[in-house]
Amino acid sequence: MELPSTISIASSLFLPIVSFFLGIIYGYEIRKVSARLQSRRGPWLLVPKSLRGTLGVTRLFQPLYDIIKLLCKESLLPSTSTKGLFRSSPYIALICVIVAAAFTPVATYSHLASFELSLVVILYLLLGVPFAFILGGAASASPWGVIGSQREAELMLGYETPLVIAAFSIATMADSLSVQKIIDVQATRLPFLLLNPLAAVAFLVAIIGKLHLKPFDVPEAEVEIVAGPVTEYGGRLLAIIEIVKTFLIAICVGLFIALFLAGGLVPGYEKLFSIPTFLLEGLLIVLVMTMIHTLNPRFRIDQALIWYVRVPTILAISGLVWAYAFRHFFPAFI
């Protein structure tokens, strides 16, 4: 690996910003599409003229406004909490996702992604987010926070296994742990979505759990435990958590595209052309996730855990087996 140049530093600073805005668009899409499926209108794309004085012209950046509003609000600290941990855990999560965003390629563009172990780094950093939430929830000393943390930990056991196994089955097929390398391998041949669909499905289900979409929003189950680990957070700290979630959507989707859809690259076209494809694929994946989100009620935590072990983990393992078999039988193809 060569020394970091000015461009690579600049790009790694720039990439998180791009990821953040992508995350905002994805967040809007989740809200809008689920509203439309429930025969509502969802956040307006164009606000009626008579309301523009109060509500602005468009609601496309709705998650961004939420974050700005929360940043300007007062933060309350519960008197019973462990204050240092309670205050710092959102920032830990934020640092994790910003670094992970710098590693995740947006439409094949990322200097850090070419680092040989970048896939491992991303997976590790993503693991830091739920850990930070668990810490924050436990530090808040609220019964809901504690139960939420407990559930988050249990659910993490469920989704991390298929996530990691599915990612490594792709790494096996590409014979590399570098995300850039995996993209390059797919660029010349078929995307891994077609070559290893089992791992793709397992990965998608795992990121649904990671993003706390239904049916896996157990740690934040509103009617049971209010808001789970984030119950006691408010104001600026909640804004940080919202930012982390926004990043998380973009990173998970970006990683899926990188691993399974060649980062948006279409064989035979320019590298620049991957930008619109990347956006389109991102929106499509979020659409699929939103469909699943609206179609299902919430699992109970034990049901979720059992289901994760029974379906995606098995799928991911068979994906790994498939990857080895593929390498064995079609060595020329890889």
């Binding site: 509203a35 509502r40 109060t54 509500l55 939420d66 300007c72 609000k73």
Partner: protein
């Protein structure tokens, strides 16, 4: 009048905490209807949050019976500033049908809500129709912007 990003963002993404302070539930189901398909409030970026720490608008329904009154106050204090409070329904405003008149108050009512918390917007009706509630929330947004 030019508004800063801060003021705009406040009006663009208000989150509501609904506090049921007694009452007959009619206002509550009309509020539920506000979030249902026909009177979808989410198109204005409004969300119903069941957590006082996340909310900006404190929407109270009901005449605030004596038992819930101190808890209502306590929950109101848990909302981080800036915040506005809406009294929704006739019984939240004056006690409505549960308060015969001011001279001969009902023994069980600790309200009306204005006695317990500072109110910013009044939404009359028994129950107020969803249009009326949306109208009240719009007025509350104007207040919230300048808090």
């Amino acid at each position: 009048m030019r508004l800063g990003l801060k003021e705009k963002a406040r009006a663009y993404s208000p989150w509501i905490f609904h506090a049921h302070a007694g009452g007959c539930n009619n206002c509550d189901i009309e509020l539920a209807a506000c979030f249902a398909p026909r009177f979808d409030l989410e198109r204005m970026g409004i969300q119903l949050r069941n957590n006082p720490r996340h909310a900006d608008i404190f929407l109270v329904t009901g005449p605030a019976p004596k038992q819930i009154a101190p808890i209502l106050r306590r929950v109101y204090d848990q909302l981080p500033n800036p915040k506005v409070a809406i009294a929704c329904g006739s019984c939240a405003i004056t006690g409505g049908v549960y308060n015969r008149d001011d001279k001969k108050p009902n023994y069980a009512i600790g309200g009306p809500v204005e006695k317990l918390i500072p109110i910013d917007v009044l939404v009359p009706g028994c129950p107020p129709r969803p249009e009326s509630i949306i109208d009240g929330i719009m007025l509350a947004l104007e207040k919230l912007r300048h808090r």
